[in-house]
């Protein structure tokens, strides 16, 4: 990995390089980064996880949303060094290689996406919501998603997707409890 990071950090010797360790999608990663490197760019260019998109560079659109210790964070305005010692989840960490998280299934089933660019951020914000509130109302879903912009869908199907996933997750929990 080190050579890759040379590509996105400056070669100028007067800029200090910082070593950080974070957990990314369940795996511990230690890297050298330039202090000004943004978390979104570390994830995309450094770790080559391109499901995290950058849309507005100003914390408005939410396409770059990842979960840091379970909380949605817009990774385009968080420095990589700030993630040192923290747990980061991206869309690639939502489910195993051959599985889908119910939120992913819900977005497909309810036609909750069109161009797909905002979708990873939407799904991660949704996950954080359902983790703390398994049975949200429509208004609670709309409020929770209000930091993530979508230009294609008009949100109605995104809201339905999250409610669909909430129901599926509650069913799974009940099923698990009985078994």
């Amino acid at each position: 990995m080190t050579s890759l990071f040379e590509e996105i950090t400056t070669t100028s010797s007067d800029i200090p390089i910082k070593r950080i360790t974070l957990t990314l999608n369940g795996r511990s990663r230690t890297v050298n980064v330039e202090p000004r490197l943004l978390l979104a760019h570390l994830i995309r260019q450094g770790f080559k996880l391109t499901g995290t998109h950058t849309g507005c560079d100003t914390t408005n659109c939410g396409a770059c949303t990842v979960l840091v210790d379970g909380t949605p964070v817009k990774s385009c305005t968080m420095l990589a060094v700030q993630a040192d010692g923290h747990d980061v989840m991206t869309v690639e960490g939502l489910a195993g290689p051959s599985e889908l998280h119910p939120i992913q299934e819900g977005f497909k089933d309810e036609h909750g996406l069109q161009c797909g660019f905002c979708t990873p951020g939407m799904m991660l914000t949704s996950k954080a919501l359902l983790d703390r509130n398994p049975d949200p109302t429509e208004d609670e879903v709309r409020w929770a998603l209000s930091g993530n912009l979508c230009r294609c869908t008009g949100y109605q199907n995104i809201v339905k997707a999250v409610l669909w996933a909430a129901e599926r997750l509650r069913d799974e929990d009940e099923g698990g409890g009985e078994a």
């Binding site: 590509e7 996105i8 950090t9 400056t10 070669t11 100028s12 330039e34 000004r36 995309r44 080559k48 996880l49 391109t50 499901g51 995290t52 998109h53 950058t54 849309g55 507005c56 560079d57 100003t58 408005n60 659109c61 396409a63 991206t90 869309v91 690639e92 889908l100 992913q104 299934e105 977005f107 497909k108 089933d109 036609h111 996406l113 069109q114 161009c115 797909g116 660019f117 905002c118 979708t119 990873p120 799904m123 879903v141 709309r142 409020w143 998603l145 209000s146 930091g147 993530n148 912009l149 979508c150 230009r151 294609c152 869908t153 008009g154 949100y155 109605q156 199907n157 995104i158 809201v159």
Partner: protein, 792 residues
């Protein structure tokens, strides 16, 4: 047993989307996701001022930064005859500025470096000395006697007028106005807006000296047009140019034009012989790339006292920014603005239009519409409401009285368009029934007694979608047709490529449904590819709701050619004469002996393994389709609102949409398109606009100034349908992706104006910001939104 078309994912199936399988996993492949070996990164330096002469550019500090590989300026572009490029409207546009900058955000220099951070450092190290010039931000300023000539680069340009244009019957219209019982007049500004897909524009140019091939991965809604443009402008051989549009994070018209960044990245790659990636930041996208609208209307209706429209007179002043680069394929300078009033039986009409240069970003694009259609239908429906109110005629009845009747098709409009189908009154009735029209009027009166302001707005319109036909629509002379290439493999699985390019519309799902409908091959057995000019048949791309009307028709025609050949194969396999072969979905059989048949899959195998003597082997075909006419969907949008007179804030109570887009290929996707359009309509009515101050500073260069609706404000939608098949489309479909964006804004605005009727307010310009509505209520006045705005 006949196949169940819905089960195989055919026409009318709400088939879940194939492309979602990668998007929900974060496995989309957008241009910024592509990494090529040795790739460098480009950043553009933009002008901070709106109008200034460039006195000097000092790039020496940028060159000295480690990791900077190339710094390009206008002078260096000029040395290669690339400082200026032709626009899609036969004007020229600066690639990198040489003499002056003409709008804030204009491209001045570019830095190519080892990583994007260093490229940004390089831009910051460039020193540009500007000498300020007077700034123009609206048509009145542009026409002033002492106005500076913005385009002094053009030899024959002595003022700021881009064009004067007219259409219709002036004398006849004047006569109609002379004998009218009443003339209704209204003026308004449709504000400048930006399509603003969440993904910005970008490109990776990769010139390979060894093969002389230039590959460009880019955010283009029309890759073949880009290939043609690069071949013609850069004089590179067309077969050595490959344009690839990977997944696109939304387009909405923003990704049709050729932007300076693309051109500079191509030159940089040729000079450096390395791949060069340019990814625009959001501010760059909002302040420099294709804006939309920015047009002023003076509208007049000649009326009979009972509400019958006798004539229409319109004048528009459009603001084109610094370069006339409208991205539109029509022969009409004002796009399809004169499609206004197409759903009404108007005897005579006349339109005059003037376009002007200003010190604002160039590049009018058709933001989720055919060019100027959104303005046309907004003006139409605002004029209709004002007229109905003045005459005291019920707004629904006014429309019903003036609609073109169901038995009056084909209908030639007063401006010369030919509409071909629709059930306008029925759509309106479905909408009124759904909203509970009579009950709402009572509720509104009751609420008024308690000091509450309720309003109901209607917008009904038919719009021409799906450029072309080729007689009237072209881009740089290239006719507006489209294409599909269908290859059926020996096992009956298939590969389909088209000249369109999906950006969220779901082509990978819906094109397969058309194949399933025509051939009985399950949709799941058809894979779709688009966007690579080396493999896709030549087509004009996706915008103007043209995919289904044109490329979708080509898919059906290609499939029909496959079916025709398969019929010959079936006759051979059944040892019968072709005339005795009958077709049912997915299967040929012998007339009179339906148990003796062969499936389309068996025909496919025969095409490779058992063809009759003399038959060309294989089973594939390309169809090019030139539609006989545009398609004419109809939309009826009804919105109810409550306005808070204390604050000017208005809330949407209900939104009812009745759309008639003919036969629906995939109802789920159609409804998704409509809801997206309704939201952009809401955005324009409520919050979304780009304006300028006296100095030409763009107010709206980021998402804290340029407001997009979130899930929280966005209303819920109630959708209804009427189906009037398109008479000329092979499967009866019409365009739909843009209807609600086009027809929607007037419904929201009419609703608020309806609520404000008792205050003597006739017009508040969009967006209906609370301060504007508050001013209208408290001062009982119309409110203009034209720039410049005063920044406090």
């Amino acid at each position: 047993m006949v196949l169940d078309e819905i089960k195989i994912g055919g026409l009318g199936a709400s088939r879940l989307r194939v492309e979602d399988n990668r998007f929900i996993r974060g496995k989309g492949n957008y241009v910024d996701d592509i990494v090529l070996p040795g790739m460098l990164h480009m950043e553009i330096l933009r002008s901070p001022v709106a109008h200034a002469r460039i006195k000097s550019i000092d790039t020496s500090k940028a060159w000295n930064i480690p990791g900077v590989r190339l710094v390009l300026t206008g002078e260096m572009m000029a040395a290669r005859n690339l400082a200026w490029m032709p626009t899609l409207s036969y004007d020229t546009q600066a690639v990198l500025a040489t003499d002056k900058v003409r709008f804030q955000g204009q491209e001045v220099a570019a830095v190519i470096a080892d990583d994007p951070y260093i490229a940004k450092d390089g831009c910051e190290a460039i020193v540009v000395e500007y000498e300020s010039l007077p700034v123009i931000v609206n048509p009145d300023q542009a026409r002033a006697a002492d106005a500076p000539v913005i385009r002094d680069d053009k030899a024959n340009q002595t003022d700021n007028v881009v064009f004067n244009w007219e259409v219709g019957d002036k004398a006849g219209t004047d006569a109609a106005f002379a004998r009218a019982d009443h003339v209704s007049k209204i003026e308004m500004h449709y504000p400048r807006s930006h399509p603003s897909p969440i993904e910005t524009c970008g490109s990776i140019a990769d010139f390979d000296r060894a093969t002389s091939k230039l590959t460009v991965y880019m955010t283009s809604q029309a890759p073949h047009i880009i290939r043609a443009a690069v071949a013609l402008v850069a004089e590179l051989p067309e077969h050595m140019i490959r344009i690839v549009s990977p997944d696109i994070g939304g387009g909405f018209g923003n990704k049709v034009p050729v932007y300076p960044g693309y051109v500079v990245s191509i030159l940089a790659s040729i000079l450096l012989e390395k791949p060069v990636k340019w990814i625009e930041d959001k501010s760059g996208n909002l302040i420099s790339t294709g804006f939309a609208r920015d047009i002023y209307l003076k509208g007049e209706l000649a009326l009979r006292n009972d509400g019958k429209i006798l004539g229409v007179r319109m004048h528009t002043d459009s603001d084109h920014g610094a370069f006339f680069s409208d991205a539109q394929p029509s022969k009409f300078k004002i796009g399809l603005l004169h499609a206004a009033f197409a759903c009404y039986d108007v005897p005579v009409a006349h339109l005059t239009a003037q376009g002007v240069y200003t010190n604002k970003a160039p590049g009018g694009v058709a933001y989720r519409c055919s060019f100027r259609i959104t303005e046309a239908m907004f003006f139409q429906e605002r004029m209709v409401q004002a007229a109905a109110d003045e005459l005291g005629v019920d707004q629904a009845e006014f429309r019903r009285m003036n609609f073109v009747r169901d038995d009056d098709f084909p209908h030639r409009t007063a401006f010369g368009f030919l509409t071909d189908s629709g059930q306008y009154a029925k759509c309106l009735d479905v909408g009124l029934e759904a909203i509970g029209y009579e009950d709402f009027l009572k509720e509104k009166e009751e609420a008024k007694k308690r000091g509450r302001l309720l309003g109901l707005g209607i917008s009904t319109m038919t719009e021409p979608l799906g450029a072309g036909n080729s007689r009237e629509y072209d881009i740089l002379g290239i006719k507006m047709f489209d294409s599909a290439e269908l290859r059926v493999h020996m096992t009956g699985k298939a590969l389909l490529r088209t000249g369109a390019k999906t950006q969220g519309q779901g082509h990978e799902t819906t094109w397969a449904q058309i194949v399933a409908h025509e051939l009985g091959i399950p949709a799941a057995d058809v894979v779709i590819e688009e966007g690579d000019t080396d493999t896709a048949p030549f087509g004009m791309g996706t915008y103007a709701s043209r995919s289904t009307p044109v490329a979708g028709a080509a898919v059906a025609m290609a499939a029909r050619k496959i079916r025709a050949k398969s019929r010959k194969l079936a006759a051979h396999l059944l040892e019968a004469s072709e005339e005795d072969i009958e077709w049912e979905l997915g299967r040929f059989y012998l007339r009179g002996a339906p148990e003796r048949g062969v499936t389309i899959q068996e025909c496919a195998m025969a095409a490779y393994s058992n063809m009759p003597d003399g038959m060309e082997p294989g089973l594939e075909n390309v169809a090019y389709y030139d539609p006989p006419n545009l398609t004419w969907p109809f939309g009826c949008y009804i919105v109810t609102v409550e306005v808070d007179p204390e604050t000017g804030v208005w809330d949407v109570l209900r939104v009812v949409a009745v759309d008639d887009c003919g036969v629906r290929i995939n109802p789920m996707i159609v409804e998704g398109q409509i809801m997206g359009g309704l939201t952009e309509a809401y955005a324009m009515a409520n919050m979304q606009f780009i304006t300028f101050d006296e100095e030409g500073n763009c107010i709206g260069g980021n998402y804290t100034d340029y407001l997009l609706p979130t899930a929280w404000e966005t209303p819920g939608y109630e959708l209804h349908e009427v189906v009037t098949p398109c008479p000329h489309h092979p499967i009866g479909a019409k365009g739909i992706g843009e209807c609600a964006t086009v027809g929607g804004p007037a419904a929201y605005v009419n609703a608020v104006m309806d609520a404000l009727k008792d205050y003597g307010v006739r017009n508040v310009d969009m967006p209906l910001l609370p301060d504007r509505v508050y001013k209208a209520i408290t001062e009982r006045t119309d409110v203009s939104g034209a720039p410049p705005v005063r920044m406090e």
